[in-house]
Amino acid sequence: MKIKSGSNIYLMNANITNESKFIQKLLDRTQRDVAFKQLLDLYQERIYWHIRKIVITHDNANDVLQNTFMRVYKSLPKFKQNSSLHTWMYKIAYNESLRFIEQNKKRYYVSIDDVNNKYLDNLEEDTYFDASYIQLKLQNILSKMPEKQRQVFQMKYYDDLKFREIVAILGIKEGSLKTLYYGAVSIIKKSMIAEDACIKSEAS
């Protein structure tokens, strides 16, 4: 895992050519359904992964993904284009994920602090989580981070969102955001180096 290099694959970010024209199609009632199918094709996977890292299990992510696109469809007439379509959809997905956690908190968690404690438990219960030792180690480190810091790190590193996009989604200042992100990177690096040293000493 190369934290510093980030995920270069995201440089190939798939943009919808001429977004404003596409938005006009989405806002036009006669063309909305066709345009929405294209929107779904393009964004479904990345939105899914964004949600999955917040709600953790596949089944929950599936529910939230459906709710998200339902809300996107219903909210299209109200889309004021203050942000890009991309950021607007991520924000809806993020809010839907938090709404889901809030609704299920009573069922799954005793208190808000248990959200973090349950992070690994939920992962391990998920049929679609099959981690190697190092993956489990990374997940373990992430689980110990404050929720907000974990989300900032995941949005920046795995979703490859720009800082200004994360600011729009989370509604926190860019300075604080960068502090949280680089703090998370530092924690992961130190933990991984310590883990590596431990393995090497055991081997020798």
Binding site: M12, D41, Y48, F129
Partner: protein, 142 residues
């Protein structure tokens, strides 16, 4: 339209989550999910909102029933609204009957007061002038 570049991007996204976080998805999940989402949205669009859930419809229906009920079962209520003058003249007539007992007169006076609430001011003034003139001034100076 999803391009090859988009497909490649999504494939690498899956790989990143699988390789680094150990997260996977069922086979052909996104194809199935795509259909499911479109199906849910289509179903929601075609969903009929039951009339009984509409408060406006309820209010209109209640008003309609009230009007019908009043018209059919209490038609006199509308006529009575136009009979204030008659009420006043009846009251005056009753008051002028000498055989009425004092208690009864008091009751009638109360009725006049109540009835006066529904009488135009001009009519009431005319009645009072007439009453004062007839009963007090004229009778006293006979």
């Amino acid at each position: 339209m999803k391009t090859n570049e988009n497909n490649l991007f999504d494939a690498k996204l899956d790989k990143l989550h699988k390789d680094e976080l150990g997260l996977s998805i069922p086979k052909d999940y996104f194809k199935k999910s795509n259909k499911d989402i479109l199906k849910i949205i289509a179903a929601d669009k075609n969903r009929v909102v039951p009339l009984y859930k509409n408060k406006i419809v309820w209010a209109i229906a209640a008003s309609f029933v009230l009007i019908i009920t009043l018209t059919v079962y209490k038609p006199s209520i509308f006529n009575k609204l136009n009979q204030f003058e008659l009420i006043v003249s009846d009251t005056i007539e009753q008051l002028n009957k000498p055989q009425l007992a004092d208690a009864d007169k008091e009751l009638k006076n109360d009725n006049v007061l109540l009835s006066s609430l529904f009488v135009a001011d001009d009519n009431l003034d005319a009645f009072v002038d007439d009453y004062v003139y007839t009963e007090i001034i004229k009778n006293d100076y006979k």
